[in-house]
């Protein structure tokens, strides 16, 4: 390394040391809300590098200019924190990644890292594909992974078609994920990871994730969770020992509905039977700087700042949305035309107990409204009709204020029929396995006054 490059490396070390001191000594001592508002963007950084701008600037630039060839060499060899080109990294994307890593790592002793992606689906692919590689030179090497069957239709598609059908990687489904023996029975020496989505979309499946994490680690493989529906305001799997958490950031994290984003958040030193130390040591940085650089499912810097602005109010928003959803779920639960309501907060739900063990509103004990730990169950629910699919569609078509759309996680209430939309591509047999009947309506309640949403549901139910 020549002197010029060394100079940049030395400068970067100083900068990084200062930054990690700031995060360790200041940021990580804050409550969840404070981290959500500020992330790692310090007053010092604003004043010294960003003209004092209290809001993180939108670096809508494809490339970074370098002072000289030494800086360029240091940057491209990943010797200094730089960004080079927005497919690889970008300062604005970095602000979002810092905040997500800190929130998902809230209450966890170790360090977490985050890699933002263009969508939740890209996050799932980038979090799982690095494990689905050959370990040796055997041409007949078998690769498999284990997942609960009740997952988002898009994920199901990615697992069953893209990975299983096209690449010969076996996805082993767990149909009753709250039965740890079923998970254990699926694992063998060729299993690369355990994957779980919880609460699941649209069936609101839940399971004892601590048991699944322990099982994964006993087998030397990582536990990966899609915690999109819960958000870090209700569930932070890494704190419980999980290795990697995935989000469709498009959903409740960007409740305004301003676009698409995904994120992979990983702890340092994940468990894996793949022989790659850099990957295991800092998985988020690894996928960001290597596979994702080469594949290119990068996030727009503009989107990163829009999302960041949404996240600042995450905890209180999730609290309100959950309370609204609870009120609506109670209404539906007692309605004569509804046969079943899937909402984890209802005491009669079979998974109420296990969900209540894990879904807590973060920092409720520091919230003067509560001053104690409080369960919250998110804003997603689904329900079925006594009158079957005809009644479900009639009800759906008569909704007036609640949007008919394949969307969830919004500040606006949205309903869909998964069998003909989000989970249509699975086909009927697989929908049966994943428990998605044709008359299931998925409803995600927004921040409107719940009485108005109940009134809309009521008038539509009257016509069903």
């Amino acid at each position: 390394m020549n002197n010029g490059v060394q100079k940049y490396v030395d400068e970067a070390r100083k900068h990084l040391a200062e930054r990690s001191r700031y995060i360790k000594n200041e940021v990580r001592k804050w409550k969840f809300d404070t981290i959500a508002v500020h992330g790692a963007y310090s007053v010092k950084e604003a004043i010294e590098n960003n003209q004092g701008s209290i809001i993180e600037p939108i670096y809508m630039s494809s490339s970074q200019a370098f002072r000289d060839s030494d800086e360029m060499e240091a940057a491209l060899a990943y010797l200094i924190p730089s960004w080079t080109y927005s497919r690889i990294h970008n300062p604005s994307i970095g602000y979002l990644e810092d905040t997500l890593a800190l929130l998902e790592g809230y209450g966890f002793d170790g360090e977490t890292g985050c890699c933002a992606t263009s969508s939740g689906m890209a996050a799932i692919a980038s979090a799982t594909d690095p494990f689905l590689v050959k370990r040796g030179t055997r041409s007949d090497e078998k690769i498999n992974f284990v997942s609960n069957a009740q997952i988002y239709g898009g994920t199901f598609q990615q697992f069953s078609i893209r990975k299983m059908q096209e690449r010969g990687i076996e996805c082993r489904w767990v149909v009753e994920p709250d039965n740890i023996d079923e998970w254990a029975s699926r694992i063998d020496g060729d299993t690369r990871f355990l994957f779980g989505e919880l609460p699941s979309n649209p069936g609101l499946m839940f399971f004892d994730l601590k048991k699944v994490i322990d099982l994964a680690h006993e087998n030397g493989i990582p536990a990966i969770f899609d915690a999109t529906i819960a958000t870090p305001a209700l569930l932070r799997p890494i704190q419980l020992g999980a290795d990697i958490v995935i989000h469709s950031v498009t959903k409740t994290l960007t409740a305004s509905g301003f676009g698409m984003a995904g994120a992979v958040i990983a702890r340092r030193n994940i468990v894996s039977n793949i022989d790659s130390e850099p990957m295991k040591e800092d998985f988020a940085a690894y996928i960001k700087l290597l596979p994702n650089r080469d594949i290119g499912w990068c996030l727009s810097p503009f989107q990163a700042i829009l999302t960041l602005n949404d996240i600042r109010t995450l905890r209180s928003k999730v609290d309100v949305l959950s309370q609204n959803a609870m009120k609506v779920a109670r209404f539906l639960n007692g309605h004569a035309k509804i046969s079943q309501v899937n909402y984890l907060g209802l005491e009669n739900h079979p998974l109420y107990e296990v969900a209540s063990k894990y879904l807590w509103l973060v920092d409720a004990e520091h919230d003067e409204h509560y001053r104690k730990a409080v369960n919250r169950y998110g804003h997603l629910m689904s329900f079925q009709f006594k009158g079957g699919v005809t009644a479900a569609r009639k009800f759906f078509d008569n909704l007036k204020r609640i949007w008919r759309a394949t969307d969830l996680g919004r500040i606006k209430s949205v309903a869909t029929i998964p069998a003909i939309s989000t989970h249509q591509q699975m086909g009927e047999d697989l929908r049966d396995m994943a428990n998605i009947p044709a008359d299931l309506v998925r409803l995600c309640i927004g921040a409107e006054h719940p009485d108005d949403m109940i009134a809309d549901l009521e008038q539509a139910l009257d016509k069903a």
Partner: protein, 526 residues
Amino acid sequence: MNLNHIGIAVRSIEEQLRLWHGVLGLRIRSVEDLAEQKVRLAMLEAGAVTIELLEPLTADSPIAKFIAKRGEGLHHLSFEVPDINQTIRALKNRGLQMIDDVPRKGAHGSSIAFVHPSSTGGVLIELCQEAGITRGGTMHIETDVVHGGQHPDKWTGALAPPIYQTSTFAFRDADHGARLFKGEEAGHIYTRISNPTIELLAAKIALLESAEAGLIFASGLASIFNVVVATVRAGENVVSDDTIYGGTYTLFRNVLPRLGIEVIFVDATDPERFAGAINERTKLAFIETPANPTLKIIDIAARAEQTRSRGVPLCVDNTFATPCLQRPIEHGADIVVHSATKYFGGHGDIIGGVAVGRKDFIQGLWKYAKDVGASISPFNAWLILRGLKTLAVRMERHCANARKIADYLDRHEKVEKVYYPGLESHPGHDIACHQMRDFGGMIGFDVKGGKEAGKLMMNSVKLCTLAVSLGDVDTLIEHPGSMTHSGYSEKELLECGIKPGFVRLSAGLEHVDDIIADLNQALDRI
């Protein structure tokens, strides 16, 4: 030449920062080692000028020798030059002795060269050309629209400027805030007052318009309103050409009188009547050329001479031409305003306005404007910056398409008259040839059969869009009498030469044959 920085030789930067930063409160922009020059540099911001502290890295460093001989203290003055090689040549030609005949590497990738103090009365002078510095309007406008005023972000190196979508800026401490409010230090407080993204746009447009400085507003009308009220007080008046954008006309006609400002309308193509309209209470003259919607051409240089002799500033609305075709300040105008919504943005997605002029005028305008509050969103400013990059190529196509459309309409039997400065029949053609590089993308025409025929034609277009605004990539067509210029009475319209069947067309960037085919089928309906 602008003073860029003052160099001070010090034994220890760390020690001296306690004074310059700690006690005097100057902001540290950077500390960097220049191994080649054996020196460590600390840059501190002192308003527009930088203080550069130089610490020797080795005992044989020139700075170490300087300190050994003369002690710590003032080392050099550095002047910013746009082209360092040219300046070195020029100084040598004037007999000055250079220490560096060939520039060497300075801080932040800049190029520097020292003039020997024996030539400059004992003061060591440094010439400095910053890396990627603004072109200073010395390049062709096609280059300036791309690069002018812009350079990579200092901290992150981002090539495209960041969007500072923030309302507020943090202060280092209370004194810093106080200094910013007093204007003693450059910096940002609040986006209504200033914002880095918006400031960048202002500087770029000033450069394109050959002006010293600029200010950006929420809309074109906001820029005109602010220029007028910052210049003219109650009891005073504006002399304006009678053919201007209908929104400006309504502002002049209905709003300004309520503030006690009178507007005297006159046909500014007539030198005598124009001169006659100016009286001792006239504080501003306003023209638009080419004028909206009749494409009337006014001789800027001739009017500027008249207004200058009466001590009245001349403001030109240059929206139709853009600096690619015409730079009014080069013809003697004092102030130029724009609706940036039009060709500058170019894509029909933003509203914005601009005023440019001399530094002292813009400073005064800023003091007024910040209290009025017609500030633009940083995101809109950024979109305009983005639009400007292709302004020159877009204008070429707008002009080429408009010329072909005008020729086509001019030959069409159902068209009575075409108003396009590029046609020899246009009364302002000669002036336009002299004053403009090309004739722009706007066309007016009268359809035979008056208003009803004009309406039928506009209702029959399929590709062209019936809409106000102009300068978009789409071809837009409208009826000024009932739309953009509905603030004019029927009599006033006729006085300005806007007949009832007058149609205005903004030539877009579609293939011209498709536009003409669409106009053809629409004219066939009449």
